[in-house]
């Protein structure tokens, strides 16, 4: 097991960008399943390592884990900021293939996040459904697309432009709208909380679009809750099993 703290100048974000990467000893690039684990708003790349037992869980599952930073971008090509969506959806996957040989098949790639990271996870799963086997998202700020929190008005403007939100920008970023527009025949499985009306609505729309939708119990508003949500996700994820069980298969 190796924990790599990396930083590099990425061309799309034009910013020296940091990430944590866990690689299992068995890792032979293409062979290892890969989890994208996204931080909360403003969080450092290392926060899942610092606040949860992710390294221990990854070791048991033989799982590689990439944890990129995303500042306060909502993983969006920001109106006043950098192109974080292109970074996470295009440049970083290619980077991981080139530098670390990571190129898992779709059936072995997962994404999970909480809060802003949950939004990033949903966007990756809904805009690039062909890449992921399962998507987990907890405590996602879904309601921000319906009504802007005045305390976050400036942040929202930096990301999405001045209110009211441009319809095309919203269509690219609001998980509820992305779910309605989902056309793929083979969508990933979704693991979601159902604590709000919007979350319940999102789950219903995904089910109507033939997605396999599962419920994450609890509320992931702090690190206890996020740790529990990630644990549920890894435990339930199709295709992930501890080494001991894999040998029996």
């Amino acid at each position: 097991m190796a924990l790599i703290e990396g930083r590099d100048m990425f061309q799309i974000v034009r910013h020296s960008t940091r990430f944590s990467l866990i690689l299992p000893d068995t890792c032979n690039g293409a062979d290892a399943p890969l989890l994208w684990l996204l931080p909360i708003r403003g969080g450092l790349h290392s926060e899942w390592v610092r606040h949860t037992p992710i390294e221990r869980w990854a070791e048991a599952l033989g799982l590689a884990v990439i944890m990129p930073e995303g500042l306060k971008s909502d993983y969006t090509d920001m109106v006043y900021g950098m192109k974080w969506w292109q970074f996470i959806s295009l440049e970083l996957p290619e980077y991981l293939r080139r530098v670390f040989g990571l190129c898992p098949e779709r059936s072995r790639q997962y994404v999970f996040g909480a809060e802003m990271g949950g939004l990033g996870a949903l966007k990756l799963g809904l805009r690039q459904p062909e890449r992921f086997r399962a998507v987990g998202a907890a405590d996602v700020p879904l309601d921000q697309f319906e009504r802007c929190d005045p305390l976050r008005a400036r942040e929202m403007t930096d990301i999405y432009g001045p209110a009211p939100m441009d319809a095309e920008i919203r269509a690219q970023n609001d998980p509820v709208l992305l779910a309605r527009a989902l056309t793929t025949q083979e969508p990933p499985a979704f693991y979601l909380e159902r604590n709000s009306e919007t979350e319940t609505r999102l789950a219903r729309i995904l089910a109507e679009h033939h997605c396999d939708v599962h419920q994450l119990d609890g509320t992931a508003r702090d690190w206890d809750g996020r740790t529990e949500a990630l644990h549920q996700f890894l435990h339930a994820c199709p295709g992930l099993a501890p080494a001991s069980q894999r040998e029996e298969e």
């Binding site: 190796a2 790599i4 990396g6 930083r7 020296s16 530098v99 670390f100 040989g101």
Partner: protein, 260 residues
């Protein structure tokens, strides 16, 4: 700047291992990056050579990645009293190559450089695995550690007692994989070519007498070293101005065009 701090479990240490990996700027222009394995001196750790010198800039310009393990105070030796730090460094070289497939595995594109104690490690790997590296360079290094131990035992060497933890005595080290004069003798008897070898030291360097004897011994064995004597003592004021020329020499060989 592409910089990676790697922490992992080392089988050789049965404990924590640590590496720094730096890719050259514009690494994306290369299918695979050439690699310099960079070994630090006594009482140091992986980042010391990078903080104290301009080695990254010289390597980056030439498309060379740096892999620098923290090798602890073990003289790149499986210590008599202590950890198996030579096995650990060999494992670190392999671990970096496994974790970073972007690093070249072509022996023509893999180089070794050690400062002071690190030079012993660089030569040791070059002599044990001559088919894996193109060249090795050492700055002010105890290449012939058997001789170093003899000097220590007779009170003629400034090194610390820590060296005895690694070797116990000159007799104990003689004939082992770390007896590099003997290793070179065996390779020569078997007709095995070695990577190109470079050794430099300072005119006011405590390593100077040892290194001058080492040069004579290797020459007598049919492995002439390329050498250079800089001005100065046993520190980065001596080594840093030579590093660009050393990197060029590692890549291209030939005569050494030193910069003093």
């Amino acid at each position: 700047m592409s910089y990676f701090h790697v922490q992992y479990h080392s089988q050789a240490l049965n404990g924590g291992g640590e590496l720094g990996v730096l890719l050259p700027e514009h690494w994306e222009d290369y299918q695979r990056c050439k690699v310099l394995f960079l070994f630090h001196g006594a009482f140091g750790e992986y980042i010391g050579n990078i903080m104290n010198s301009s080695i990254y800039r010289h390597c980056s310009k030439r498309g060379i990645a740096i892999v620098a393990p923290s090798a602890y105070l073990g003289v790149y030796t499986d210590m008599v009293h202590g950890e198996a730090t030579y096995s650990y460094v060999k494992e670190a070289v392999e671990t970096a190559s496994r974790l970073f497939p972007i690093l070249s595995r072509d022996p023509r594109e893999r180089f070794l450089l050690g400062i002071s104690m690190g030079g012993h490690g660089a030569y040791k790997l070059a002599l044990e695995h001559p088919d894996q590296f193109a060249a090795a360079a050492a700055c002010s290094s105890p290449i012939d550690v058997v001789r170093t131990m003899e000097l220590l035992e007779s009170g003629q060497h400034p090194g610390g007692k820590e060296l005895f933890h690694a070797f116990e005595s000159s007799d104990h080290y003689r004939g082992t994989v770390g007896d590099l004069v003997e290793a070179a003798r065996r390779k020569h008897a078997q007709g095995i070519p070695l990577p190109r070898l470079f050794l430099c030291w300072g005119d006011a360097d405590h390593a100077r007498p040892e290194d001058e004897v080492t040069v004579e011994k290797f020459k007598a064995l049919g492995y002439p070293l390329v050498t250079h004597m800089g001005k100065g003592g046993h520190d980065f004021d001596l080594w840093d101005p030579m590093l660009e020329s050393i990197v060029d020499w590692l890549l291209e060989g030939g005569d050494f065009h030193g910069a003093d």
